[in-house]
Symmetry: C2
Subunit: 413 residues, 2 copies
Amino acid sequence: MPILVQKFGGTSVANAEKIRRAAGRAIEAKKRGNQVVVVASARGQQTDELIADAKEVHPNPPKRELDMLLSTGEQQTVSLLAMAIDAMGHKAISFTGAQVKIMTDDSYTKARIQSIGADVIRGKLDDGYIVIVAGFQGMEAGGNITTLGRGGSDTSAVALAAAMGADFCEIYTDVDGVYTADPRIYKKAVKMKQISYDEILELASLGAGVMHSRSIEFGKKYNVTIHVRSSMNNNEGTYITHEVPLLEGILVSGATIQKDLAKITLNSVDNKPGNAARIFEHLAAAKVVVNDIIQTEISADKANVSFTVGKSDLLTAQEAIEKIRKGVHCDSVFVRENIAEVSVVGVGMRSHYGVANMMFKALADLKINIEAITTSEIRISCLVDIKDAIKAYETVCDAFELDKTVEKRNQPK
Amino acid sequence: MPILVQKFGGTSVANAEKIRRAAGRAIEAKKRGNQVVVVASARGQQTDELIADAKEVHPNPPKRELDMLLSTGEQQTVSLLAMAIDAMGHKAISFTGAQVKIMTDDSYTKARIQSIGADVIRGKLDDGYIVIVAGFQGMEAGGNITTLGRGGSDTSAVALAAAMGADFCEIYTDVDGVYTADPRIYKKAVKMKQISYDEILELASLGAGVMHSRSIEFGKKYNVTIHVRSSMNNNEGTYITHEVPLLEGILVSGATIQKDLAKITLNSVDNKPGNAARIFEHLAAAKVVVNDIIQTEISADKANVSFTVGKSDLLTAQEAIEKIRKGVHCDSVFVRENIAEVSVVGVGMRSHYGVANMMFKALADLKINIEAITTSEIRISCLVDIKDAIKAYETVCDAFELDKTVEKRNQPK
């Protein structure tokens, strides 16, 4: 009998009615002939509420104890889900991460899964149970409870699918799949049927926020097809898979936009080994999240170093930079506020030339100035002024026909 | 270094401020030279809220899953307590019942502790930690989480004290000890310095509700002195101990009153083996809590069977009785509503005559009629009409000088 893993996020189990709906889905999947493993997150905003409780007694709660606290959220959900399934006349049993031996390292609050003991789960599946496992949590070798960090339930689900030899992992969420572009901005965006692990990783790191990156890495490594879909309807969502010919052929799978960025440029930095490390070490210590970094030599021993940060981090970043300037010489610091980043992502770039050109031309046609450019193997990002951001995003989406499903595009396939 | 176990009930950890106060107490005890183990209950009304959550998805939640759910309440408290102690600059570590191997049978929702592995706790105590253990919960042999039933945290605490070889277990609660009588009714009641395990067991079963009975049994069996005291001040509370000469000498330690009772009498029941079992089996099946039972032969083959129930159970009890009458013949059923039970408890009854007489005389002096009498080795209970209840209680308390501490009484010591 095939094994199916279903994961329900916090919004999909936020109240009794939604818990019953999730229970109903698990039962349907079982009736269709699957052995079903369910992974669940904490209900609604509970994790945030527990963090607030912790902050009330400790400004910086010890991480081991924080994990002890936060893991209760998922434990509550899984027991309630098991009850709901029982109430509908089917056998169900819930487990904590520790009980099914989801073993992790001891990096509390951001632990990494090392192994999963599939025996307990397999035994209960063979006895006809729907098995419900608390997401987001595991146990380190000493028996202490760990958590996997934000979005960790996705990782639990895909890792469990891998450990159980499941072909599919369904991620139920409050969106009905992955879109070619942000539908709130580019109204013509369409839902993708498929996307590759590499592409979704780029999209995720650009703030598309559909799936936890580590879960995608698990899926890629262990060959688990991930199906992102809505918990509110029965529509097919988006399958995240290895690259398939259909995907390889197209130029661009999706486009993202990040607004509220600021760019900081350090002019004429001494181009000595260790200077870059020193700069970004200080920023990391100040907990500034740095997006793109651009460094270019301007002479034999001088370089300009630029990077973007979220606008909310700008002040902290500037303070950190002032400290850096005591150790790392630079002529001046230039801050550009109010910029946005428009990116396109696609594995097709690997085999097709001219993708960058298409993007630059689309922007040039509207006389939109490009402030900076960065690229990866499957991504091109352009920084533009915030006043041009929406226009830039729409024209790029149009240029790559992101309003059409893959089959209907006129580009090389 | 002596080991001290401190237990904080739900009201003593209901919010951040109270958690900090409990943390402060644990630290003080450590500074006084103890190794400190803290046992905590779920915060405030949380257990009730979780039960309500469960009822929303299942009218009669499976007990294994209910324990999985309810055990999260205590887990949250212990991690928050550990954080609070850390914030005050002392080392603390929290554990679930499972993590410190509180092994129970598999009677979910009312499991009994079978053994406790003291090694983990001892190791952390020796490393200088204050160790905080989730009360109310354990683990059965298969690794499933169990709970010990209402008030189970008391049992966890005393059992841990026994397992760790602690001489004392402090129970912090919202009352400042055990009183000779209910101070809401008998204003002159005084706090007892000491009371024996046997006496508090009788008082508990009579509704005084200070401590969970099973915890007292543990204390008695393993020689743990229990100190019931207030979490709001530093006053000495009441020590629950084995009998000591001081206690043995006095006639009566305390008095209780239970109002809102009803008495049901079955007249002329066939006095055949098995009839009593049949009657009370039916009442138990209907979940009627039966207090006292009085059976007297009225002829060679007939008996009258009386018992008291809470007024709220009266209708259910009467329905059960009607069913019983099909199988167990009786001439008539007589129901006496609106009665109360006044009881006195004291180990001194074992060695002093005339205690019953003192009680009956006190009631007779006020012309209060006694509807029924039951006794145990260390208890005498009289049923009286509800209209006489307060008066009866007060006069009995006066008769046994329950307004005075033991040392000041004029009775034989």
